[in-house]
Symmetry: C2
Subunit: 513 residues, 2 copies
């Protein structure tokens, strides 16, 4: 059948065409079937959508990607015929049925996901299949390989590549901004790619962006790392694992995360990491609730590492409150910068940097790692290295903490009780920081004044909220007024919570990784 | 945030809005999050999509349904703020995790599906959850109720409503065109709503449409049934179970059908059926392969019937070849019409009509049901009743078989062997009929000349293909030339099939119900 091309302003990356109902029936295709389009010796397979009115009989609407691939003019005739669906759909269905997939089948699925050949429905079926049936370790390894293969890769002069990863979930965690300079200053190579926040107040890329550009090209990253031993860049700019972005689009609305392991490890594989320390924040308000769960997850990461030839060690870290005091890109960048100047700052932050760095040192059997790390931090070597990296990435190496702008509007929130801080609710801290504008408004966030077990007198400041507008500040404050964000008291109550009969379980979902 | 309305030509039934990336970040919403729109005292909750270029900062693209609900002009300011996702998403996630859902939760999900409040990803998660975890009988019953409640309903003078349903899969099955007049002629009420073909060469609605209109309104259906005791109409026109259409949109591309039971029974509930016979075609090429499977499915239908107060009986029928000789809407309508004239026609068709009708007679404890049915067929009473129904639905009651147009192009396919017909492959008969143009081209299809166990001489006609164009005829013939559509031989071979090492399992999926 020949149909007249009608390019549409549909920004979908997927190759979508829209047929009139009548033509679709004539071609015997239904929504989400495939058609092959041929014009000017170019051939494209596209996913069918059907319209009743908007597309006339005899026309075919083309999404931007189809239009660009075919380079047709409005009204030009396109030959259209039914095409077979990708074979990967059969493998997806096999997974739905509980089968263990072969490596080749997983490669096919991932290539089709990354290549935008599958509809949302088909990708969703795969993700829910993984979620419900779980994966054998061989499947996880195949998925990690395939996800890395489907994207670009980074190779450096040395093959001794170190890396650190946190599975996330804890607000204010600026560890990487200190750890990368420490490791690089020790002469080890650590090309850290990281993500922007999805559900958190800040991702490492958002924090680092307060100090210098983070959206570097592959070539630029190589240059920075070859010069300084390290980098702190946004992985999303270099498409290391494009299939993962597609999976996240499905996982986010469903609040499920079955691809955590392959997602993390595929990106490590793409930059050829050899030694990896994984931080597993553990506590009530994060993904991993107990040390037993942390151990199980750690064992999976270690096993997967063996299959991928990456030496992995994991650390379960205390996660019942934010790390340090600042939460939000600018507040965190300020805190990281002032801490790295002389190695003095929040004890939990310095502990975390020291502990995770020492695991990386252990891989190289470096003696007295903690002393060395302490020296690197206190002597100014780490500070110097961070500024080298900032300069290499195109920032101002002389930046001072107070140069980083924070929200124009702020409010100090005071305690109406005396006692000690008994608990800090990470979920609500995160919600407040996001409602205040983080991570989009870099200066928005929360600056804690008190942390767990700190003495508090009635009228003492518990924290400050920063925002770009009074409206957002007010909305963040509303959360404080409605929720138990920070608990102050003389002693713990035996009652943890009163649970009403039909409590709606709101979703507090953490999709950082 | 206030954004300028930009109505888009997006025909989605779902309330979709498209935000510029920047505004989405500012609102802290991601694709598939929800926003609330307020303008002119009207309020709509919509599903977020994000564009980089096509929608400018400060604009909001509105799909047709949102535009119609809000009645805004191009450029008018709309107040936009983040909204909570529907609670039903939590229940869907619970199903993904393997939980048994409560009736109230299922009602919420179905209402949101029918109300277009869920994205494709969310509906897919529900359908795959049902597929993978199965359903408890209480869940199936709740789903049937909820699907019926979400749509319109039909009530008649009498509460003694009879119905027949086939779970489908067998080409050429024109049983309902004879059974409905037989039952109605016996004085019982049988308001048959049926579907158009999804994956088959013809649905009952497609066949009947060769005789008279089938897209009647609820009021028109009542009129027909009150006058004639029966009808044969398209259920899709009256929205008896709108959620089912949404589910089918997901099931079709994935070739899965977890909603068979609630889908069938919700539609029966919507027309207040009291006595129901279900035909379960059983054989290699259909959904149900063995009598054991048929028995299991039958027991589920019977149990579900008890919960819904519908008396159900099931019959497992032979399905290793088409019913009668015609396959395709017009060829089947011709065959039904000529058979009902005097009760003479293909033995398997008459057997099936007689057997299924007698089950309905048994519900009323009518003596000698088979004799009575035979009399109704042979005496012309059934013919008269069918013509009454045709007239009441707006057709010509004097229509003769040869008045129904069949494909202008046809070809006779001959046997190159002598022997007996050993097997007929339903899948390939279906494929040939569809490639020839059925069901869209009503006159397209296959007219068998030989059926199972018939004697064949070399050069005898096996079947004819009908189509509207030589091109389609040729394509159907191609299937015959490449595939083993009809097996002719002296005796069965001990070898059923040779299976090549990496055979691709093509999908031959039957989604009729």
């Amino acid at each position: 059948m020949f149909l007249k091309a009608r390019p549409l302003e549909i920004e979908a990356l997927k190759p979508i065409v829209i047929l009139n109902r009548d033509d679709a029936d004539e071609l015997d295709v239904r929504p989400l079937d495939r058609v092959e389009l041929v014009v000017n010796n170019k051939k494209v397979t596209a996913i069918v959508n059907v319209a009743e009115v908007f597309i006339l009989k005899g026309e075919i609407g083309l999404s931007e990607s189809v239009h660009e691939d075919l380079r047709v003019r409005m009204g030009e005739k396109v030959k259209v015929r039914p095409a077979e669906p990708p074979e990967s759909i059969i493998f997806i269905k096999n997974k739905l049925s509980g089968n263990v997939l072969k490596s080749k089948e997983i490669e096919d699925i991932v290539a089709d996901v990354a290549g935008q050949k599958l509809s949302d429905i088909e990708v969703t079926a795969f993700v829910t299949g993984l979620y419900m049936h779980g994966m054998a370790m061989n499947e996880i390894a195949a998925l990690s390989h395939a996800m890395a293969e489907a994207g670009k890769s980074l190779r450096f002069k040395t093959k001794e590549i170190f890396d650190k990863h946190s599975i996330g979930g804890i607000p204010g965690d600026k560890t990487s901004l200190l750890l990368v300079p420490v490791i690089a200053a020790a002469g080890l190579t650590i090309p850290k790619t990281s993500s922007r926040a999805i559900t958190a107040p800040a991702g490492t890329a958002d924090r680092m962006e307060c100090l210098c550009p983070v959206d570097l090209t592959l070539e630029e990253i190589k240059g920075v790392v070859n010069k300084t031993n390290g980098c702190l860049v946004w992985g999303g700019a270099v498409e290391l694992a494009p299939a993962d972005d597609m999976f996240i689009q499905v996982e986010y609305p469903l609040s499920i995360d079955p691809l955590l392991l392959p997602s993390v490890m595929s990106k490590k594989k793409a930059v050829n990491v050899k030694y990896l320390v994984i931080d597993i924040p553990t506590g009530r308000g994060v993904k991993v609730k107990t040390t037993q769960e942390a151990e199980d997850l750690a064992n999976k990461f270690i096993d997967l590492g063996k299959k991928l030839k990456i030496k992995v060690d994991c650390v379960s870290t205390f996660a019942d409150q934010p790390i340090g005091y600042g939460v939000g890109p600018a507040l965190e960048a300020r805190e990281a910068l002032s801490t790295i100047e002389d190695g003095k700052g929040p004890k939990d932050l310095i502990d975390k940097v020291t502990c995770l760095s020492s695991v990386l040192f252990d891989f190289k059997k470096i003696n007295n790692p903690k002393d060395k790390i302490s020296h690197i931090l206190k002597s100014g070597k780490a500070d110097k290295k961070l500024r080298e990296i900032i300069a290499a990435q195109g920032g101002d190496p002389k930046i001072k903490p107070e140069d980083i702008p924070v929200g124009k509007k702020s409010i100090k929130v005071k305690s109406n009780k005396s006692g000690r801080v008994l608990w800090i609710n990470n979920h609500f801290i995160t919600r407040m920081a996001r409602v205040a504008g983080a991570p989009k408004n870099k200066g928005a966030g929360i600056l804690l004044h008190k942390k767990l077990a700190d003495k508090v007198k009635r009228g003492d400041i518990l924290f400050e909220i920063y925002a770009e507008s009074g409206y957002k500040l007010k909305k963040a404050l509303d959360i404080f007024e409605k929720k138990n964000v920070v608990g102050v008291g003389k002693k713990y109550s035996i009652v943890l919570a009163e649970i009403p009969e039909e409590e709606k379980r709101k979703k507090y979902f953490i999709l950082e990784r």
